[in-house]
Symmetry: none
Subunit: 198 residues, 4 copies
Amino acid sequence: MPRVVKGYRKQAMNTIMESASRLFFESGYQESSMDDIAREIGVTKGTLYLYFKNKEELLYEVCKRNTQLLEDNLDKIISEDILESAKSFFKTELELPEHLRFHWIFALGEINKNQRVRKILMESYENYVKIISSRLELLKERGLISRDADSRKLSLTLIALHNGIMISMMQGLSDTNASEMFETGIRSILENSSLYKN
Amino acid sequence: MPRVVKGYRKQAMNTIMESASRLFFESGYQESSMDDIAREIGVTKGTLYLYFKNKEELLYEVCKRNTQLLEDNLDKIISEDILESAKSFFKTELELPEHLRFHWIFALGEINKNQRVRKILMESYENYVKIISSRLELLKERGLISRDADSRKLSLTLIALHNGIMISMMQGLSDTNASEMFETGIRSILENSSLYKN
Amino acid sequence: MPRVVKGYRKQAMNTIMESASRLFFESGYQESSMDDIAREIGVTKGTLYLYFKNKEELLYEVCKRNTQLLEDNLDKIISEDILESAKSFFKTELELPEHLRFHWIFALGEINKNQRVRKILMESYENYVKIISSRLELLKERGLISRDADSRKLSLTLIALHNGIMISMMQGLSDTNASEMFETGIRSILENSSLYKN
Amino acid sequence: MPRVVKGYRKQAMNTIMESASRLFFESGYQESSMDDIAREIGVTKGTLYLYFKNKEELLYEVCKRNTQLLEDNLDKIISEDILESAKSFFKTELELPEHLRFHWIFALGEINKNQRVRKILMESYENYVKIISSRLELLKERGLISRDADSRKLSLTLIALHNGIMISMMQGLSDTNASEMFETGIRSILENSSLYKN
DNA sequence: CATGAATGAGACTTCATTCAT
DNA sequence: GATGAATGAAGTCTCATTCAT
């Protein structure tokens, strides 16, 4: 790592978080030792403590960063065509490295053990709901989904579908099948939007 | 624990697994020490080794048992009316203790670390698909869902929806909302079954 | 160490404390590692944690025990003749192993760092004053020291003299010289007891 | 720290020693990290190594300097009246910052661990004895104390009394009480100087 | 002169596992 | 069948020290 570079510190932290994130996902938080993480980058244990005050802080920052990255991904959908948006969103997601794509599943495993992680995850969940709801409102205005539909309920259902499919992927579902299921699922739900009354 | 009872060994193993399962879910596998597990039952560490050859074996047996229990729950659905079946299945699920209900989410966290656990989970997933597919075939025969529908794809989608909702519950979704979303989601999917062509 | 002996635990704790006390005195608290202490007894580090929850707790218990032992030593003085008592007290003290005899000097070094140790030391100081004062009161009644003398002030001075001499011993003063100085010092003070008015 | 000043180096070393001395006394030698010491002055760790080759050297220099300062304090006593001298000496001592006043108690804790510190302390002890003995010889010549008295023994006793009182102060004895005890103690000893035969 | 990034040894502590009783 | 004393490996974290800039 070059040393006297402007922004060096931030860059170093990113390198560490990237490495930690991958290891946490692949082997679990407890199972990844600070030694492992350091070795992966080619520094020594002690160095990590120059950037993160302890292991838990590192976990926290990794979660915060990954959650943000995933939110950014969702936020970029701008197309008018919701189905098209969903498809491109999912496609982008598939291109992410596993440890990022499945980050929230990993984080879920820590939710019971760590209050700060839990908080991040819950806030992120709420953000997702808000972003998607606002998109659905637009569709409603344009008459593409039922005026009676509760866009919050629809959002919750869409997110559940998405998450469920991600989990299936972890259990072996192929990318192709997953994409198809995601698309068809969304259509099923939106075309029956009138069912989701409030 | 009474000692000279027939079936005592099996009973003792169950007591241990129950305790371990709860702790694993609440605090994580690594974070639950053999001491913790033993203390919870009121025996000493050493005793656990009379019943399980090591901690990993205990994890394995817990996963096997819990997975089986969840499968049994699904298997009990017998009603002709698929929506009614789904509702009662979900209701039964809600009555399970958390560590059992969410067991597969916990197990998912171990999937990358433990081949045997991964195997159990994948097999169980296949079993679910099979059970549900066979139920859907019946519906097809009775003309309740489109004859063109691929019942495997439908199953995968239904499972994904279910799992996604369970995850939302871990993030705070209420029982009532979850039930409603599950029911409405299923209807959305089944009423559009023609979309799921093979 | 024999294992299944009644009172085994207490005996084991004593062995550890004895060893720790010596090392703490010889090399300092921070400088004595749990490894060192364990090695000295011929067990492994982990064993220490079966008896003391952490190093600080071990320090605390060592201080409590040593302070008690020293108090007991003072408490045994029963002779009517105060000078004779002092002499025998000092003689007994000289026979103690260094780490016990000088324990309070060691503890003094921890007084600023550890509230619990400070508390023990202060209480012990008060106890000394009480014990000696009560002895002096007897002398007053028998007219051996001035009726005007403040026995508390006398005690404080006698203790200061004693402690000062102990310190000189740490700096190289011989046993013989120390004994003589202690005896003569006490006589100087008691024979001028009228100076210590309240 | 201003850099291009003549005598700057010496001044910088003093700043560091002052800071180190306070921290050593307050938190102990081992417990004070080079980082702590540096932070207290507002420089970084590395800087300390420009002035002291390592931490032990810093300890050594601190001890040497503090010991010298205390000796200087004793050396300044010039009055003919020994009691008056003692009083003013003690008064001056009370005005010193704690880490200086109690320095030798701190150093005592290091005596077993560090040969160089031990040497300083012992030499300093001898110096004290010499200085006080020579003062007592003057008193003897003027017939103020017994001609039979061994002035070395008297010195040792006076020093012991002084040190003992200082220790009592660390354990909570008030300044006023300490002063009174010191004065009265000295009178007790000197007025019975004939007891200190050689 | 001064910095601060990096090191690496070593400290405390935990815990799965074994085994004599 | 059960205990609990003991182990030893491994993990987190600290810190004196070095060195390129």
